[in-house]
C-alpha cells in the first residue's frame, strides 16, 4: 500500500482535530475557561501590582468561576420523566484508542474507546458546587485579615485557587486512574501552597508541611494501589477494569482477590485523605488552624465535595454491587460503613475536647465526612442523592460558619471559645448568623442541615423492596447518637456567645469579690492587652455593609433550603436517575 500523499495525511489530521474539537474539547469548555482564566489572572497579577490591581484579580477570578459554572450548567442533561429511553448516560471525553484517526461516531456521539473523563450530570453537579464554593470563598477572602496582610499577593492567591478548581472540576469527572491521580495531585499541590499562604503566622508553615507530608504519603499509597489494579487487569480506565473483572471472575479469586482488596484499600487511603476520613484525618486540624480561614473553608467544602465525587465514581463504577452489572468481588459497602462510623465518632468525640474554633470545625468537618460516607455505604441511588443533598447544604452552612469566624477573628484576633463570650451582645448579627449555621450543622429543622440529615437517614432506612429489611438501621442509629454528641459542642459555642458573660467582665467581677490587688492581675486577664477595637472589651463590633450582605448570602440559602427543599431534591435526583445503577453503560 503506497504511503498517503501529504495532502491526504493533512486531511486525516484535520479530520482528527475537528473530531477532537467536536466530541471532546467542546465538552471540556468549563475547564478550558478555568485554564484561560488562570492565565489571564497570572498576566494581570504581573501587570497590576497595586493594591487595587490585586483586588481586581480576585474579581476577575470570581468572573471566571461564574463563567465556568455557567458553562457547566449548559452541560446539564435535562431528563424528561416521560421518555426515560432518551436519557443519555454521559459523554466520554478524551478517548484514547487505536481509532484516534478514524473516529467512530454513531448518532452524533463518540462511542469507541474509553475516555479519560466523562461529562454527565453527576460531574456537572459537582462542578456547579465547586464553582459556587469558589465564588463564595473568593468573596470571603476580600475581607480576610490574614490575606489582607499580604494583599500584594492576592493575584497569586486567586490564580492558585483557580488552578485548584481545575483539579476539583476533573476529580468527580475522571473515569481513568491516571486522570484521577492527576486531578487529585493538581488539587493537592495548589492546596499545599495555599495552606502556607499566610507567611506571618507560626502555624502556617507547619500546616503546609503537614499537609504536604500526609498528602505525599497517601497519594503514594493511592498510586501504588492503582499500579496493582493495572497489574491485575491491564487497564487504567475504570469501566475497562470493570469489564475485565466481569469477564473473568475466576481469574480474580484467591490470591488475586486479596491483591485486589489490597489495591482497593490503598486507593481508598488516598481518597479518604482528601475527604479527611479517619484514619487519614490527622492533617485536618493542623491545616485548618494554620491555613488562612478562606483556604480552610475551601478545603473543607470544595475539596471534600470533589473527593466524595471521586470516591463515589471509583467505587460505584469499578465495583458495582447489585443491579445489572453486579460484580461482588469487593464488598466495599461494609468497609465504607465501618469507615463512616469510625470517622463520625472520632470526629465528634475529638471535637468535644477542642477549645479553638478552627480545630473544632476541623473535627466537626471530619464528622460530617463520616455522615456522608454513611450515604455511600447504602450503595444505592438513595444514598448518593443523600450525599449530594448533604454536600449542597453543607456548602452554605460550613462556609457560613467559617465566614462568621473569620469576621470575628478579624476583630478580636482570636478563635478561642472563651474569647467568644458575650459576642451575642457585641455583634448580634454575626453571632445570630453563626447560631443559625451551627444549628444547621447539628441538623435542627428549618435549617438546611436538617434536610441533609433527613435525607441521609431516609436513605439509611430505605427498606429493601423485596425483603423489607433495613440493613443500615444500625448506621442510622450511630449517626443519630453522633448528632446528639455534636449538639453539645456546637451549643458550647452558642452558649459562650449568648449565655456567658465576657471573660474579662467575669474576671473583674471575681476580682472585686476577692478584693485582690487589681493591678497585679489585670495583665493576666485575657483581652486586656489586645488593643484596637477590642481594648474596651465590650464595645459593639461593627461590620462593613458588604460583609453583612455576604453574610446573608449564606444565611438565606440555609433557611430557604430548610423550608422549601424540593428544587434541591429534584436537582440531585436528576443526577441519580441518570447515573442509574441499572444503566451504567458506556
Amino acid at each position: 500500500m503506497p504511503p498517503p500523499k501529504p495532502s491526504e495525511s493533512l486531511a486525516v489530521i484535520a479530520n482528527a482535530v475537528q473530531w477532537y474539537v467536536q466530541y471532546s474539547l467542546v465538552h471540556f469548555l468549563p475547564e478550558m475557561i478555568l485554564g484561560g482564566g488562570f492565565l489571564a489572572v497570572i498576566l494581570l497579577n504581573a501587570l497590576a501590582r497595586s493594591d487595587s490591581g490585586q483586588r481586581t484579580t480576585v474579581y476577575l477570578s470570581i468572573l471566571v468561576l461564574a463563567l465556568a459554572g455557567c458553562a457547566s450548567a449548559f452541560q446539564w442533561h435535562a431528563l424528561d420523566p416521560l421518555h426515560p429511553k432518551d436519557w443519555k448516560p454521559g459523554t466520554m471525553i478524551f478517548p484514547y484508542t487505536q481509532t484516534l484517526f478514524a473516529p467512530d461516531v454513531q448518532h452524533g456521539e463518540a462511542v469507541s474507546g474509553f475516555g479519560m473523563a466523562v461529562v454527565d450530570n453527576f460531574a456537572v453537579f459537582f462542578k456547579l458546587l465547586v464553582s459556587l464554593c469558589g465564588i463564595l470563598v473568593l468573596a470571603m477572602s476580600l475581607s480576610s485579615r490574614e490575606l489582607l496582610a499580604r494583599s500584594r499577593r492576592f493575584g497569586d492567591y486567586s490564580s492558585l485557587l483557580l488552578g485548584m478548581t481545575v483539579g476539583l472540576f476533573l476529580m468527580p469527572a475522571s473515569t481513568d486512574l491516571i486522570m484521577m491521580y492527576l486531578s487529585l495531585e493538581l488539587v493537592s499541590i495548589a492546596g499545599y501552597v495555599l495552606t502556607g499562604f499566610s507567611r506571618d503566622t507560626t502555624h502556617g508553615p507547619e500546616a503546609s508541611l503537614k499537609y504536604l507530608l500526609f498528602g505525599a504519603l497517601s497519594s503514594g499509597l493511592m498510586i501504588y494501589g492503582f499500579s496493582l489494579i493495572y497489574g491485575l487487569t491491564g487497564a487504567t480506565q475504570i469501566i475497562a477494569i470493570r469489564q475485565v473483572l466481569a469477564l473473568s471472575p475466576a481469574a480474580h479469586a484467591g490470591a488475586n482477590l486479596l491483591i485486589l482488596w489490597l489495591a482497593t484499600v490503598l486507593v481508598l487511603a488516598g481518597m479518604c485523605y482528601k475527604i479527611s476520613a479517619v484514619p487519614f484525618h490527622f492533617w485536618t486540624p493542623d491545616v485548618y488552624e494554620g491555613a488562612p480561614l478562606p483556604v480552610a473553608a475551601f478545603l473543607s467544602v470544595a475539596s471534600k465535595a470533589a473527593g466524595m465525587g471521586l470516591i463515589i465514581r471509583f467505587l460505584v463504577f469499578t465495583f458495582p454491587i447489585g443491579g445489572e452489572l453486579n460484580l461482588p468481588l469487593i464488598n466495599w459497602p461494609i468497609v465504607i460503613a465501618a469507615l463512616s462510623v469510625i470517622t463520625m465518632t472520632v470526629g465528634n468525640l475529638a471535637a468535644l475536647l477542642q477549645s479553638n474554633l478552627r480545630r473544632l470545625l476541623a473535627y466537626s468537618s471530619i464528622a460530617h465526612a463520616g455522615y456522608m460516607l454513611a450515604g455511600l455505604a447504602v450503595n444505592g441511588p438513595a444514598g448518593i442523592v443523600a450525599i449530594m443533598v448533604y454536600l449542597a447544604t453543607y456548602l452554605f452552612m460550613q462556609l457560613g460558619a467559617f465566614y462568621c469566624i473569620m469576621l470575628i477573628e478579624n476583630k478580636i484576633h482570636s478563635e478561642e471559645i472563651d474569647d467568644y463570650r458575650g459576642l451575642g451582645g457585641r455583634s448580634p448579627l454575626v453571632a445570630s448568623a453563626l447560631v443559625i449555621f451551627l444549628v444547621s450543622l447539628t441538623g435542627i429543622p428549618l435549617t438546611a442541615g436538617f434536610i441533609g440529615k433527613f435525607y441521609l437517614f431516609t436513605a439509611l432506612l430505605t427498606p429493601n423492596p423485596v425483603t423489607h429489611n433495613m440493613p443500615f438501621l444500625w448506621l442510622a442509629v450511630a449517626a443519630i447518637l453522633n448528632a446528639i454528641v455534636s449538639l453539645y459542642y456546637y451549643l458550647r459555642i452558642v452558649g459562650a456567645m449568648f449565655l456567658k458573660r465576657p471573660l474579662r467582665e467575669a474576671a473583674l467581677e471575681s476580682l472585686r469579690v476577692a478584693g485582690a490587688g487589681a493591678g497585679r492581675v489585670a495583665g493576666a486577664v485575657p483581652g486586656t492587652g489586645a488593643g484596637g477595637e477590642d481594648a474596651t472589651g465590650h464595645a459593639t463590633i461593627r461590620f462593613a455593609l458588604s460583609q453583612r450582605v455576604l453574610l446573608f448570602a449564606f444565611v438565606i440559602p440555609v433557611i430557604a433550603l430548610g423550608v422549601y427543599f424540593q428544587p434541591l431534591i429534584d436537582f440531585a435526583s436528576g443526577v441519580m436517575r441518570f447515573f442509574n445503577f441499572e444503566n451504567i453503560k458506556y
Binding site: L82, I444, T458, L487, Y488, R577
Partner: protein, 551 residues
C-alpha cells in the same frame, strides 16, 4: 354547621411569626412598645382561639378520619413524583383539629397571654426575649394543629432553640446547665421519633388526589394510580395504607413494638415520665417565671398529646399490649413526683415536682384505654395547664418581691398579702383535687376510667391524692401561717398586672370545676372515636389530598 374557609389554624400558628417581623422593626430601646406588641399578638391569638371554639362542631369526631376534622388546611409542600429515587414522596402542609387538640389549642392561647403578662418583669434584652417567645409560640401552636408527621416534627423541633435561649439567657444561676440539659434531652427523644417517623413513612403508601382536578394522580408512563409515600398521620393510623410485608405492617409485630417504644420515648421525655424526668426540675428552677408557665402549662402537654394522637392512633395494638406498663409508669409518676415535691424546700421546685405527679394522671388515664380514662387524661392536660400556670405565676410574684423561693424563709404571709393568699389557696386546692375546682373533675374521670382496667395501679395511685394534699397543705401552713419574719414586713400585695393574669385563671378553675360540661362536650366525641379506633383498628380510604373529596 358553618365551615369557615378562613385558614384559622394557619393564622393562629403563624400570627406569632408575623409578630416577630413586626417586633424586628421596633427599636430595642422602646421596651414598653415591645411588650405591648407581644401582648397584642397573644391577645389576638386568644381572639382567634375563641373564634375557633365558637365555630368548632363538637359532634365531629376526627381522630383517624379526615372528613370529620375541622378547619382543615392542606397544601402540597414537597412532591417528588415520577420515577423518584425515594419512591414518590408527598409531604403536605396539613393542619386540622379535632376534639383531642381543640382544648390544647385553647389552652396554648390562654397560657401564652399569661406568660406574656408575666414576661413584663423581664428587663434585659427585651427584644430578643420576645422574638424567642413568639417563635416558641408558633412551635407550640403548630404542634397541636399539624396532621402531617413531618410538619409535626418540624414544629416540635422549632421549640428547642428558643427554649434553650429563653432558659439560658434569662434564667437563674445554673441556667446554662439547665438549658443544655433540656436541649440535649429533648433532642435525644426527637431524633428517635425521627427514625420511627421515617420507618412509618416507608411502611405506608397512599394514592394522591390532584389538588386542582381532584382526580387520582396517575403514573405518566403506565397510567396506573401512582402510589406515594406520605407523612400523613391519618394514613399512618390506617391499616389499609400499610404495604404488605413492610416494617410496621401487621399487628403486634416486634417492629411495631420498637416503633411504639421509640415514639413513647420521645413523648415520655416531654411529659416527663419518671425515669426521663430529670431535666424538668432543673429547667423549671432556672427558667424565668413566664417560661416556667409555658413549660409546665403547654410543653408538657405535648408529651401527653403525642401519646394520645400518635402512639395510640398509629400503634393501637401495642398500646393495648403495653398499657399495663403505662399504668405502672402513671402510678410511679404520681407517687414519686408527690414524694419528691414533699421533700423540696424550694417553692418552684416543689411546683415542678407536683407537675410530674399530676402528669402521672394523664399517663394513668391513657393507660385505661376507655372513654372515661382518655377523657380524664385530656381534661387533666387542660386543667393542669391552667392550674400549674397559676402556681408558677404565684411563685414568680413572690420571687419578684423577695428574690428567694425558700419555703422555710416565709411565714405568716396570709395577713401581709391577703389577696395573694386567697389566690394561692384557690390554686393549691385545685391542685390537690378539691371538688368544685377543675382538677377534681379530671382526676375523678381518670380514676373512674382506670379503675375499670387496672385496679391495682388505680388503688395504689390514690396514695397520690393524700400525698398531694399533704405537701400542699404543709406548704400553705409553712408559708402563710405562723409569724411573719421581720424582713418581709414591707411586702406589697398582688399588683393589678399580676391580678390580670391570675384572676382569669382562677375564674377558669372555678367555672370548670362547677360546670365542666362545655369542655367535656368538646372532647367526648373524639375520645369515643379514639377508643373505637384503638380497639377496632378500622381501615379507611387510602386516597389523600383534599378533605372535601376524600371518601
Amino acid at each position: 354547621m358553618t365551615i369557615t374557609q378562613f385558614p384559622f389554624l394557619g393564622a393562629i400558628t403563624f400570627l406569632p411569626m408575623a409578630g416577630m417581623i413586626a417586633l424586628a422593626f421596633v427599636p430595642k430601646e422602646r421596651v414598653h412598645a415591645l411588650r405591648t406588641v407581644a401582648l397584642a399578638i397573644t391577645l389576638a391569638q386568644v381572639a382567634l382561639a375563641i373564634l375557633i371554639w365558637i365555630n368548632f362542631d363538637p359532634a365531629l369526631a376526627g381522630v383517624n378520619d379526615v372528613r370529620s376534622f375541622q378547619f382543615v388546611e392542606r397544601l402540597p409542600w414537597i412532591r417528588l413524583g415520577g420515577l423518584g429515587i425515594f419512591g414518590n414522596v408527598a409531604i403536605d402542609y396539613f393542619m386540622g383539629i379535632d376534639g383531642l387538640s381543640v382544648g390544647l389549642v385553647l389552652l396554648t392561647a390562654i397560657i401564652t397571654v399569661i406568660a406574656a403578662l408575666a414576661s413584663f418583669s423581664i428587663d434585659r434584652n427585651v427584644k430578643g426575649y420576645f422574638l424567642m417567645f413568639l417563635l416558641l409560640d408558633t412551635g407550640m401552636m403548630g404542634t397541636f394543629c399539624a396532621l402531617d408527621f413531618f410538619l409535626f416534627y418540624i414544629f416540635w423541633e422549632v421549640m428547642l432553640l428558643p427554649m434553650y435561649f429563653l432558659i439560658g439567657i434569662w434564667g437563674g444561676a445554673r441556667r446554662e446547665y439547665a438549658a443544655m440539659k433540656f436541649f440535649i434531652y429533648t433532642l435525644l427523644g426527637s431524633v428517635v421519633m425521627l427514625l420511627v417517623m421515617i420507618g412509618l413513612y416507608f411502611s405506608t403508601q397512599v394514592m394522591l388526589l390532584d389538588p386542582v382536578t381532584h382526580q387520582v394522580v396517575l403514573n405518566p408512563l403506565s397510567h396506573k394510580p401512582e402510589l406515594y409515600h406520605s407523612f400523613d398521620m391519618l394514613q399512618m393510623m390506617n391499616p389499609a395504607a400499610y404495604l404488605n410485608g413492610s416494617m410496621f405492617a401487621g399487628i403486634g409485630t416486634t417492629w411495631r413494638y420498637v416503633g411504639f417504644l421509640g415514639l413513647l420515648f420521645a413523648f415520655a421525655i416531654k411529659i416527663p415520665m419518671v425515669p426521663f424526668h430529670t431535666w424538668l426540675p432543673d429547667a423549671h428552677v432556672e427558667a424565668p417565671t413566664a417560661i416556667s408557665v409555658l413549660l409546665a402549662g403547654v410543653l408538657l402537654k405535648m408529651g401527653g398529646y403525642g401519646i394520645i394522637r400518635v402512639c395510640l392512633g398509629i400503634f393501637p395494638d401495642i398500646a393495648i399490649a403495653l398499657s399495663w406498663y403505662l399504668a405502672m409508669f402513671g402510678f410511679i409518676n404520681i407517687v414519686y413526683g408527690a414524694f419528691c415535691a414533699m421533700a423540696q424546700s424550694d417553692f418552684k421546685k416543689l411546683i415542678a415536682y407536683s407537675s410530674i405527679s399530676h402528669m402521672g394522671y394523664v399517663l394513668l388515664g391513657i393507660a385505661a384505654l376507655n372513654s372515661q380514662g382518655l377523657l380524664g387524661a385530656s381534661l387533666q392536660m387542660f386543667n393542669h395547664g391552667i392550674v400549674t400556670a397559676m402556681l408558677f405565676v404565684l411563685v414568680g410574684v413572690l420571687y419578684d418581691r423577695t428574690q428567694t423561693r425558700g419555703i422555710l424563709e416565709f411565714g405568716g404571709l396570709a395577713n401581709q398579702m391577703p389577696r395573694y393568699f386567697a389566690l394561692t389557696v384557690i390554686a393549691f386546692f385545685a391542685a390537690l383535687g378539691l371538688p368544685a375546682l377543675n382538677m377534681f373533675v379530671s382526676e375523678a374521670f381518670v380514676y373512674i376510667g382506670s379503675f375499670q382496667t387496672w385496679q391495682m395501679w388505680t388503688i395504689l395511685s390514690t396514695l397520690g391524692i393524700i400525698l398531694t394534699a399533704s405537701y400542699l397543705l404543709w406548704t400553705l401552713q409553712r408559708m402563710f401561717f405562723g409569724t411573719l419574719p421581720e424582713k418581709w414586713i414591707g411586702l406589697t400585695d398582688v399588683t393589678p398586672r399580676e391580678l390580670a393574669s391570675l384572676v382569669p385563671l382562677a375564674v377558669i378553675i372555678i367555672v370548670l370545676g362547677v360546670y365542666p360540661g362545655p369542655l367535656i362536650d368538646l372532647m367526648s366525641a373524639s375520645v369515643n372515636q379514639l377508643v373505637a379506633v384503638v380497639h377496632a383498628h378500622v381501615p379507611v380510604s387510602t386516597v389523600i389530598g383534599s378533605a372535601a373529596v376524600a371518601k
